[in-house]
C-alpha cells in the first residue's frame, strides 16, 4: 500500500507522451479502416524508413479533434472515405495546399481539390444492386426512376445519417436543384421496403432474403461479398446484379476516398511522400485488387472483378460540390423523413 500510490503516479507520468521522436515519422489521422491499407503503410515504411503512426476514428471525430488541437496538432495527414468531409475540413481551415507535380499527374483534376488541398486515393460508385431473379435490368435506368410507383415497397437503402447517401443527394441537388432533389428523396422514401437500418451490406443481404428487390449501395461491397470467405456471403453476391444508373444522362454518382495534408503538419515533406506513394501504380493496384475500389490513376490496369462489371460513365461533377451541398442534403433528408 505504501508503494502503490507512487507507483501509479510513476506509471501515469510514463504514459505521457515523450518529446523524443527518434526517427522520421508521419502521423496519419484516418477514417479508412480496410485491412488492405496496413500492408501498404508497411511497404512505405520499409522502402523509405519513415515510420507511419496511425490514428483511426470517424472522420467527424477526427475533424473535431483537429479543431480542438489547433496549431500544435501532431497530425500530418487526414484520410477520409468521402469528399464531403474533406471539403468540410478544408472550409474549417484544417488543410493546406500542396504543390507536387507527381500528385498532379497521378490524380486527375476532377479527383482532387481545385486548390490542391486534398487528393483522391480511390473512387467508388453508388450503384443499384438488383435481384437477378425478380428484376429485369432493362427496367432500371436513372436514380430519378426510383421514384416510379412500380418500385413501391421494393427499395432498400441505408440511413440518411451516412455520408454516402448525403453525397448522393448533394450530387442531385447540384444537378437538378433543391426542389427536384426534395421530390426525389420523398419519392424514394415512399418506395422503401423498410425503414432504413443496417449498412450497405445489410441492404444487399436483404435483397437475397427477399425483403426488397433493389438497393442503393457502394460498388466495392459487391466485390467484397463475392470474394468473402463466408459461403453465405458469396451466395448473396451471386444473387444480385449491378446496374450503373444515369448512363444516358450525367453519369453514375461517384465519390472519392482521399488524403489531405493538415494545415500545421509537423512532417509536411514526409506527408507528401506518403500520399505520392499511395497514388503510385502499385498501391492503386492493391486498392483495386484487395478492396475492389476504382483507382484514381487512369493508367492503372483494372482488376479483373472491376473489369467484369464493365465500363461506365461517371458524373463529372466537381467533388467539392458534395461538400458544399452537404448541409442542404442533410436538411432535406430530415424534411422528407428519410431516417
Amino acid at each position: 500500500m505504501k508503494y502503490t500510490l507512487p507507483l501509479i503516479i510513476l506509471c501515469l507520468i510514463m504514459s505521457c507522451r515523450s518529446n523524443q521522436e527518434p526517427e522520421e515519422v508521419v502521423n496519419v489521422y484516418s477514417h479508412r479502416h480496410y485491412t488492405a491499407d496496413q500492408p501498404l503503410f508497411k511497404k512505405f515504411e520499409d522502402s523509405t524508413g519513415i515510420q507511419v503512426n496511425i490514428l483511426k476514428a470517424g472522420a467527424d471525430e477526427l475533424i473535431n479533434r483537429l479543431e480542438l488541437e489547433g496549431e500544435n496538432s501532431p497530425a500530418d495527414i487526414l484520410i477520409t472515405v468521402d469528399a464531403a468531409r474533406l471539403h468540410r475540413a478544408k472550409v474549417k481551415g484544417l488543410l493546406q495546399s500542396v504543390s507536387s507535380s507527381t500528385l498532379n499527374t497521378a490524380v486527375p483534376e476532377n479527383f482532387r481539390d481545385q486548390e490542391n488541398t486534398w487528393f483522391g486515393l480511390t473512387t467508388r460508385a453508388r450503384i443499384i444492386a438488383y435481384s437477378k431473379e425478380r428484376v429485369d435490368p432493362t427496367d432500371l435506368g436513372t436514380y430519378e426512376d426510383l421514384t416510379n410507383p412500380k418500385w413501391h415497397g421494393k427499395i432498400l437503402v441505408r440511413s440518411s445519417a451516412n455520408v454516402y447517401n448525403q453525397s448522393l443527394l448533394a450530387s442531385i441537388i447540384a444537378a437538378k436543384g433543391a426542389d427536384a432533389a426534395r421530390s426525389w428523396a420523398s419519392g424514394v422514401v415512399k418506395n422503401m421496403a423498410r425503414t432504413p437500418k443496417g449498412n450497405d451490406r445489410d441492404q444487399i443481404r436483404a435483397i437475397s432474403d427477399g425483403i426488397g428487390d433493389i438497393a442503393l449501395v457502394n460498388s466495392y461491397y459487391i466485390g467484397s461479398l463475392a470474394n468473402s470467405s463466408d459461403p453465405a456471403d458469396r451466395e448473396v453476391a451471386q444473387a444480385v446484379g449491378i446496374h450503373f444508373p444515369n448512363q444516358i444522362d450525367r453519369g453514375t454518382h461517384i465519390n472519392v476516398s482521399g488524403a489531405a495534408v493538415t494545415a500545421n503538419a509537423p512532417n509536411k515533406y514526409n506527408a507528401i511522400l506518403l500520399i505520392e506513394f499511395l497514388t503510385s501504380i502499385e498501391s492503386q493496384q492493391v486498392y483495386a485488387q484487395n478492396n475492389y475500389e476504382y483507382p484514381v490513376r487512369q493508367d492503372t490496369s483494372l482488376a479483373s472483378i472491376l473489369a467484369s462489371w464493365g465500363e461506365f460513365k461517371s458524373d463529372p461533377l466537381p467533388l467539392s460540390s458534395l461538400g458544399e451541398y452537404n448541409a442542404s442534403a442533410v436538411a432535406l433528408f430530415d424534411e422528407v423523413g428519410w431516417r
Binding site: R17, K56, P196, S228, A232
Partner: protein
C-alpha cells in the same frame, strides 16, 4: 491554536479529496458550461421542436422495455437460485452472469446475423447440403429487437443486486414466512419483493444507464435514442450546439436515474455481508424442470446464442492477423488494469472521505463523481479533449512553441477519461458496503485517536476487501468492452480488442472481427469466474 485550526479549515485530507472529486467532474463541468457559451436560444428551439420528440420517445420506450424485462428475468432467476435447489443450480449460479462479458454492440451484430439466412443455424445446415430457405427468420432491427438484445445482456446487473439482497434482507424472513403457511410464490410477492425493491431499482438504474449510453447497438438496429440524436446532430449536421443541448437532456435523464438509484440503493450490494443460511428447498418434478428452464433460457439467449454466432464467424474467417490480435490483447489488458487500479483507489478514498468529512461538499463528492456513468462516452471525450488541449497549450506557451503535446493524445488522458466514465461502477458497490459495514467502526476508531487515513487503512480496508475485489472485477470488464471513448481519445498505433472488433464491423466485415470478439469474452470470463469463486468462499 492547533485545535482551532483543525475545526475551521478543511484538513489536508479533505482538500485532497475535493481536488480528486473535482478532477473527476471536470469534463462534465466543461460540457455543461459549453451549453451557455455555445448554445444560443435558436438552437434550443430547433432541438426541442424537431429533434427531441422522436429521440425522447424512443429512448423512453427502450428504457421501459429493458427495465421490465431485466427486472422480470433478474428477479426470478435470483429468487430461484437463492431459495431453491434443483439440478444444475451450482452451474447456473455463475452461468447466469456470463452475458455481462458480451458488449451490447457485439450482441447486436451477432443477433442480426443469427436470425438471418447467414446465421449459424442455417450455416450448419448448409454444410450438410440443406438450404433453410432464404427469408429472414426474425427482424431484430427495430425497437423490439433492441429491447430483447439489451435485456439479454444486461439482466445480470439485476440478478446480482437482487441475489445479494435476497440473501441478506429476505433470508431471515423466508423460513418464518413459510412457517406461517405462505407458499413459495406468496413469499416472493408479499414478503420478498417489497423488501428488495431498493435492490431491484438500483440494478435497473444501472442497466438503464448502460442502455441510454450505448451508441453502436442502437444505431445499428435503427433505434433513435437520445444518444443517437447527439451523434447525428454532432456528426451529420455538424451542429455541436444542438448536440450539446441533447447531451444536456440526456444528462438530466441520467441524473434522475442516478438519484433514483442512490436513494433506493440502501443496503443493496453485489456481495452479502452476513448471508443468512437460506436452506434452499428442493424442487421436484415439473417444478424443477420449470426452474431449469427459467434459469437456462436467459443464459441461452444472453450468452450461448451470441457466442455461437461469433464462433461461427471465426470458423468462417479466412485469416486472422494474430500479431495485431496479440498486441491488442496486451494493450487491452494493461490499460484496463491500470485504469481499474486507479478507479478503485479513488473510489475507496472518496467513499471513506465522504463519510468521515465534516464538509458537506466533500460528503456529496462521492455521489456526484459517479455522474460520468450517465453521460455518453463521446461527450466525456470532448470534455477531456478540451481540458487536455488547454493544459497543453498553456504549458507550451510557457515553454515555447515547436514541441509536441504532452497530454493530448497520450495514454494518461485516456486513463483519466476512463476514470470519469466508470467511477460509478467502482463507487456504487464500495459505497454501499461502506455504509452498511464500516461506519460504526469509524467513530470508535476515531475516539482512539486514529486519523482518517489510518482508519481507512487499518480498520475499513480489511472489511471492504471482498467488495473491493468484486468492484474491481466489474470495472475491469467494463473498461475492456469500452468503445467510443477509446476510439476518440486513443494515442497513435493504439488498438484495443474493442476497437479491432469495431473496425472490422464498420468495414462491414463483421466475421473478421470474430477472433477479437472471442478474446474479449474470454478475457472477461476470468474475472467473472473469480467473482463467483469469491462469493462461494463467503457461503
Amino acid at each position: 491554536m492547533k485545535t482551532w485550526l483543525k475545526k475551521v479549515c478543511p484538513t489536508r485530507w479533505e482538500i485532497g479529496l475535493l481536488v480528486l472529486g473535482l478532477g473527476v467532474l471536470a469534463p462534465l463541468i466543461v460540457v455543461v458550461s459549453g451549453l451557455y457559451t455555445d448554445g444560443n436560444g435558436s438552437s434550443w428551439v430547433r432541438t426541442l421542436e424537431n429533434l427531441t420528440p422522436r429521440y425522447a420517445s424512443q429512448t423512453l420506450a427502450l428504457c421501459s422495455g429493458v427495465a421490465i424485462c431485466t427486472l422480470l428475468v433478474g428477479s426470478i432467476t435470483a429468487w430461484l437460485i437463492s431459495f431453491y435447489k434443483f439440478p444444475g443450480r451450482s452451474f447456473f449460479r455463475w452461468a447466469i452472469i456470463l452475458p455481462l462479458t458480451i458488449p451490447t454492440y457485439l450482441a447486436a451484430f451477432a443477433y442480426r446475423d443469427f436470425f438471418s439466412s447467414s446465421g449459424i443455424i442455417p450455416g450448419i445446415f448448409r454444410n450438410y447440403g440443406i438450404t433453410l430457405g432464404t427469408s429472414e427468420f426474425l427482424d431484430v432491427m427495430n425497437i423490439w429487437g433492441a429491447i430483447f438484445i439489451f435485456s439479454s445482456v444486461l439482466y445480470p446487473y439485476i440478478y446480482l443486486t437482487m441475489k445479494a439482497s435476497f440473501s441478506s434482507d429476505v433470508a431471515p424472513y423466508f423460513n418464518t414466512s413459510r412457517l406461517f403457511g405462505l407458499s413459495g410464490t406468496q413469499v416472493l410477492v408479499i414478503v420478498a419483493l417489497p423488501l428488495t425493491r431498493p435492490a431491484g431499482v438500483a440494478g435497473v438504474s444501472l442497466a438503464l444507464m448502460e442502455t441510454i449510453n450505448d451508441y453502436g447497438a442502437v444505431h445499428y438496429l435503427g433505434v433513435d435514442t437520445l444518444t443517437v440524436g447527439i451523434f447525428r446532430t454532432w456528426f451529420s449536421y455538424g451542429d455541436l450546439a444542438g448536440a450539446k443541448n441533447l447531451a444536456a437532456l440526456l444528462l438530466i435523464g441520467g441524473v434522475i436515474l442516478f438519484l433514483i438509484e442512490r436513494t433506493n440503493r440502501g443496503n443493496a450490494r453485489y456481495d452479502s455481508s452476513s448471508p443468512t443460511a437460506t436452506s434452499p428447498r428442493s424442487l421436484k418434478g415439473w417444478r424443477s424442470w420449470l426452474a431449469i428452464a427459467f434459469c437456462g433460457v436467459p443464459v441461452v439467449f444472453g450468452f450461448i446464442f451470441p457466442i455461437g454466432q461469433i464462433a461461427w464467424w471465426a470458423s468462417q474467417a479466412q485469416t486472422a492477423a494474430w500479431s495485431s490480435l496479440w498486441a491488442a490483447s496486451l494493450t487491452s489488458l494493461s490499460i484496463s488494469l491500470l485504469a481499474t487500479t486507479l478507479i478503485i483507489l479513488i473510489a475507496t478514498l472518496l467513499t471513506h472521505g465522504s463519510s468521515t468529512a465534516r464538509n458537506l461538499a466533500v460528503r456529496s463528492l462521492a455521489s456526484i463523481s459517479s455522474l460520468g456513468y450517465a453521460i455518453p462516452g463521446a461527450v466525456i471525450a470532448v470534455g477531456v479533449l478540451v481540458i487536455s488541449t488547454v493544459i497543453d497549450q498553456s504549458f507550451l506557451s510557457i515553454v515555447g512553441q515547436g514541441s509536441q503535446y504532452i497530454l493530448t493524445g497520450s495514454l494518461a488522458v485516456l486513463v483519466y477519461a476512463y476514470c470519469v466514465r466508470f467511477m460509478a461502477v467502482g463507487l456504487n458497490p464500495i459505497d454501499g458496503a461502506f455504509r452498511q459495514r464500516c461506519s460504526r467502526y469509524d467513530e470508535a476508531a476515531s475516539t482512539l485517536g486514529y486519523g482518517p487515513l489510518r482508519i481507512l487503512l487499518r480498520v475499513n480496508l480489511p472489511i471492504l476487501k471482498p467488495t473491493i475485489l468484486a468492484a474491481s472485477i466489474l470495472v475491469f470488464v467494463d473498461i475492456l468492452k469500452e468503445l467510443p471513448l477509446t476510439l476518440i481519445l486513443r494515442p497513435f498505433n493504439f488498438d484495443t480488442l474493442a476497437t479491432l472488433v469495431f473496425e472490422s464491423a464498420i468495414d462491414e466485415k463483421v466475421a473478421e472481427s470474430a477472433p477479437a470478439a472471442l478474446l474479449i469474452v474470454a478475457v472477461s470470463l476470468i474475472p467473472i469466474i473469480f467473482l463467483h469463486r469469491l462469493s462461494q468462499e463467503q457461503k
